[in-house]
Amino acid sequence: MVTTEAEARAAQPILQLRAIEKVFDQFAAVDRITLDIQEGEFFTIVGPSGSGKTTMVRMLVGMDKPTRGDILLRGQRINDVPANKRPTCMVFQSLALFPHRTVGQNIEFPLKIRGVDPAARKKRALELLAQLRLPDHYYGKAVTQCSGGERQRVALARALAFDPEILFFDEPLSALDYKLRKVLEKELKDIHRQTGKTFVYITHSLEEAMVMSDRIGVMNRGRFVQVGTPNEIYGSPTTRFVSEFMGEVNILDVTVGPDGTATDDVTGARYLVPPSAGAGPCSLVIRPESLRFVDGPSQAHNVVTGTVYNEYLLGSRVQYQIRVGEKQVLLLENLRDQRYEGDLDSPVTVGWDTGDSMIFPKGPLQ
């Protein structure tokens, strides 16, 4: 009997959103979202600013109420449960550390609220400091004297001290420099493994989402455009919006004819494209790393000729800006050891295989 109960518990998603909607002045910031988040999952919501991701998380944490729809935590409707009664907590974008308290007092805050005695509080705070690789003497340090990365860890420690069932993050790393962000992304993933808790993370960077997540939901205009594993999102994006969100991509406006080939709207060139949903105006998306220099048409399914206009060194990789005719610019990316040897402005042929390109019909929900 006990085992079946435990099994049922494990099978049930920890958090279920049932057509939740948040309307501000007739504008649906979150538009009928249905989603299940599994126990122990690292789920990341990615979207540009204004896509509704912060609004959504505020509802999930209990700081806002959905206009319509239900939020279920382990099957229990929690729409009307205020934030301080929910077993979840959030790491804010600003971190919201209490400036009038020391590092230790900040971490102990949720325990103090619960009436845990000072000795036990301190013990737990020191454990968390160690877990987040902060030295013990930081316990008495003023929060205002900590660096950006240290504050980040303090905020995470405070949230972990609360011991939430689900831990939410609202772009906590966005204010940090690139290098530190990379370090903390990995630390966060480690913490996720160590604690086994459910993490729901918000970011505007798909790159950040890729590094950490088990599953990613890409949001735009209050809805999920695609939900899937990082691999699925990167490998088979379902819309132009998702493919573009990953980073720099080449997007060609094409018209797919009845024979299944595409005509470039700008240059008039003909391309072989993957089987698309139908004929008509489409966006052809080619990743820079899928484009390569070729010697002739036999080396790739599709080739275009242009001139090398610029070279950008990116460390381990190198990018080239290829000008095709007057109006078209393509971006090509190679590894550093496959550097282009010719002169700038000299004619080159570049090509790609059909399987490396993606085609999306143009529609309202791009």
């Binding site: 944490v61 209990g62 700081m63 205020p82 934030a83 301080n84 907590c89 959030m90 804010f92 600003s94 919201a96 209490f98 400036p99 009038h100 805050f109 949720p110 103090k112 609220i113 619960r114 205002t144 405070r158 949230a159 609360f162």
Partner: protein, 307 residues
């Protein structure tokens, strides 16, 4: 020769720039900050420091004298403590403390609502609260006198509508306290508004999210973070109320004598400047110690956004 001097001067200037050494009071005086502060400094010196020094000097002169060129004595202070002058002191401090406390309790909800609840209406409210300040407080207190006096607006209305006969509410300690609270409320309210506005909304949300109840948010986040504003408000209210003159006289009818009234009496009727000065010095000491202690706890840089 001239050239040589020129070179020497230039070298000196370069070294001074490279390592800012103290190069005498001339260089110090030439700093932009010093120059711009000079007019205000001179005004303060002539209008504030000099009279203050005069008062301090008079406090140590023999009683009933009108010159500061006599051998100093502690006679005035001895007399203050020997006779019952300290009573007006205690009355002042007590009433000022009570005023501060009452203003704090009354103002906090109002200030909180003005920052977080009222939105655009808050501006109109602020104007309504400040508007009476454009009328001299003596006049406003006379208005209250007409309201509270026996057969005045309040007791007349109570008598006519409810048949309740009331005695005069004027000329009591309570009336004085009421007047003090009424007059100095804005001095508590506005710094408090500033203090509460400084509490980031996310800080409250974070505390709430971490399980704190409303009271715990108030105790752990709201009040500590608004403390600079609350302390400045308390300081202003306390010091102003402790030096109040019109309220005890007009509404209190001298049922309680506060220190300002004693000081005024000494300077006018009694023609005893040294004693008046000694009382003033004691008052300044109390206020000064209080101000320094409290202001040291306040992070002014944080308030002015310099951090």
């Amino acid at each position: 020769m001239a050239q040589a001097t020129g070179i020497v001067t230039i070298t000196a200037a370069t070294t001074a720039r490279a390592a800012p050494e103290p190069s005498g009071w001339r260089a110090w005086l030439r700093q932009a900050g010093v120059l711009t502060a000079l007019p205000m400094a001179l005004l303060m010196l002539a209008g504030f420091v000099a009279p203050l020094l005069l008062v301090v000097a008079f406090a140590f002169m023999p009683p009933q004298s009108f010159s500061i060129l006599q051998p100093p004595t502690l006679a005035n202070f001895q007399e203050i403590f020997a006779n019952s002058f300290y009573r007006s002191f205690l009355a002042s401090l007590y009433l000022a403390a009570a005023t501060t406390l009452i203003c704090m309790v009354v103002c906090y909800p109002v200030a909180y609502a003005m920052v977080r609840v009222f939105g655009r209406v808050a501006g109109v409210l602020a104007l309504l609260i400040t508007a009476p300040l454009f009328v001299a407080d003596n006049l406003r207190l006379v208005g209250w006198m007409l309201f509270l006096v026996k057969g005045g607006v309040l007791s007349g209305a109570l008598q006519a509508w409810f048949g309740i006969a009331t005695d005069s509410m004027l000329y009591t300690v309570s009336a004085t306290l009421f007047g003090l609270v009424y007059t100095y409320l804005p001095f508590m309210l506005f710094p408090m508004i500033m203090g509460i506005a400084m509490v980031p909304l996310e800080m409250r949300e974070a505390a709430f999210d971490l399980g704190a109840t409303r009271w715990q948010v108030l105790k752990e986040v709201d009040i500590p973070l608004a403390m600079p504003g609350i302390l400045i408000g308390a300081l202003m209210t306390f010091i102003l109320a402790a030096g109040a003159l019109s309220e005890p006289r007009i509404l209190g009818g001298s049922s309680v004598v506060m220190i300002a009234q004693d000081i005024q009496n000494e300077f006018t009727f009694a023609q005893n400047w040294p004693k008046g000065s000694a009382l003033s010095v004691l008052m300044i000491l109390v206020a000064g110690v209080l101000a320094v202690t409290l202001l040291r706890r306040i992070d002014l840089d944080g308030i002015f956004g310099r951090r």
